[in-house]
């Protein structure tokens, strides 16, 4: 088989990629060996392939990978179903439950309206008392320490304590002592 220069130029790419049939390959080699121009074409094309074969020719812009990782991180949601995920969920639940518990406890045990005040103990819950808003105390009816300017109002001792009022040490101290003594007396008499 004899080939022309034009055929060599048409096939040079396939020839260098070793994608021509054996008979054509031999014919091309015979022609190239005897043709300076086709030798130059083949050598030049081979050089081009060799020169560009290195991927390092294209350098990634500085910081490309870092910027990509940041963008990916924005798109990747936290993984589901892992131990870590469950742990996070459990901690979140515990925090929520704890917050609810504290809120309930605070509702049932409000902080005193006066920092120095002691909470009332032994005061009957249903006892009607007089609450002094400004002095943050509640009193037994008739206590001389209730001021009329103090906007007094009546409610049960339980309500007053729930709202953060504390008993007046004078009147309620005496009252509790009186009740306690009477209770002991009655009990003793019964015995």
């Amino acid at each position: 088989m004899v080939v022309s220069c034009e055929q060599v130029w048409q096939e040079v790419s396939n020839y260098l990629d070793d994608e021509v049939e054996t008979s054509l390959h031999s014919a091309l080699e015979d022609h190239i060996r005897g043709c300076p121009r086709c030798t130059s074409v083949v050598a030049g094309t081979r050089n081009v392939i060799q020169l560009y074969s290195n991927e390092r020719l294209f350098q990634l812009p500085m910081g490309f990978s870092w910027r990509l990782q940041r963008r990916l991180a924005d798109h990747i949601r936290p993984q589901r179903g892992t131990v870590y995920g469950w742990l996070v969920a459990a901690v979140a639940l515990a925090l929520i439950a704890g917050s609810i518990g504290v809120a309930n406890w605070r509702a049932q045990n409000p902080s005193s309206r006066s920092e120095m005040a002691q909470r009332g103990h032994g005061v009957p819950a249903n006892l009607l008392v007089i609450v002094s808003e400004h002095s943050r105390l509640f009193h037994i009816k008739g206590c001389p320490f209730v001021h009329q300017n103090d906007n007094p109002h009546v409610e049960t001792a339980a309500e007053a304590m729930r709202e953060g009022y504390v008993p007046c040490v004078r009147c309620l101290g005496e009252y509790v002592s009186y009740v306690a003594v009477n209770f002991i007396k009655k009990t003793w008499a019964a015995v």
Binding site: E6, W9, Q10, V12, S13, N14, P36, R37, T39, S40, V41, A43, G44, T45, N47, V48, I49, Q50, L51, Y52, S53, N54, E55, R56, L57, F58, L60, P61, F64, S65, R67, L68, Q69, R71, L72, H75, I76, R77, Q79, R80, G81
Partner: protein
């Protein structure tokens, strides 16, 4: 527990399967070897480093979002390059609809390309690519090609994809890939040979006794 696959292709498939099943944080591990390819594919179309980076990153994010649609029988690298090329083409149409295509873009692919006649181009020293001016010369020559030749050349001769993979990635026939590749190689040879023959070796390290100082 997942059994480790020994074949790199199998390892990649296993990695893809795990990401598809929810281990999304492993996506960067999958994409890292192909960052440069995505960038180069975008650069092949856009010829601008900043645009190429943006488009390459968009393409990678798109691949992440659509990984569930990836078919196991395809090669991930080809699929990614396909996305990058499509994204880059869309960007080019959107940003520069008026841009004239480079010379050679509308040339008849079927016509015979007649390579120019030069003095013999000697064998290239392997360290040539280490020189910045050589790299710039190669990139400049590549950028001057029409995009349809440049895209095929980059995928085939720089990324070493097969003819079939290039055809799949660009949505053209195998015959077109071969024709464009031939034309690209010959055009690059014609662009580089005269400069390489005159500049390259004459500007190579100093001859004995000819130091400039």
């Amino acid at each position: 527990m997942v059994k480790a696959a020994s074949d790199p292709d199998q390892q990649e498939k296993e990695l893809i399967r795990r990401i598809q099943n929810g281990e999304q944080e492993k996506f960067y591990e999958l994409i890292q070897p192909y960052e440069r390819r995505a960038y180069t594919a975008a650069f092949a179309v856009l010829r601008n480093a900043a645009d190429a980076e943006e488009v390459a990153q968009e393409a990678i994010l798109k691949a992440f979002a659509n990984l569930r649609q990836f078919r196991a029988e395809a090669r991930f690298s080809t699929w990614l390059i396909q996305i990058a090329v499509n994204e880059a083409r869309m960007r080019r149409r959107k940003d520069h609809p008026e841009i004239m295509q480079p010379m050679g873009e509308y040339e008849d692919e079927e016509g015979l390309y007649s390579p120019r006649e030069f003095a013999d181009w000697r064998e290239i020293p392997s360290e040539a690519l280490e020189r910045k001016e050589v790299r710039e010369l190669l990139l400049e020559a590549l950028a001057s090609l029409g995009s349809k030749y440049r895209e095929v050349f980059i995928m085939r001769d720089i990324h070493h994809l097969s003819i079939e993979e290039v055809a799949d990635a660009l949505g053209i026939s195998r015959a077109s890939v071969k024709t464009r590749l031939l034309r690209a190689r010959l055009m690059l040879r014609d662009l580089l040979a005269p400069r390489v023959a005159s500049d390259w070796f004459s500007r190579a390290p100093f001859q004995k006794g000819s130091k400039p100082w």
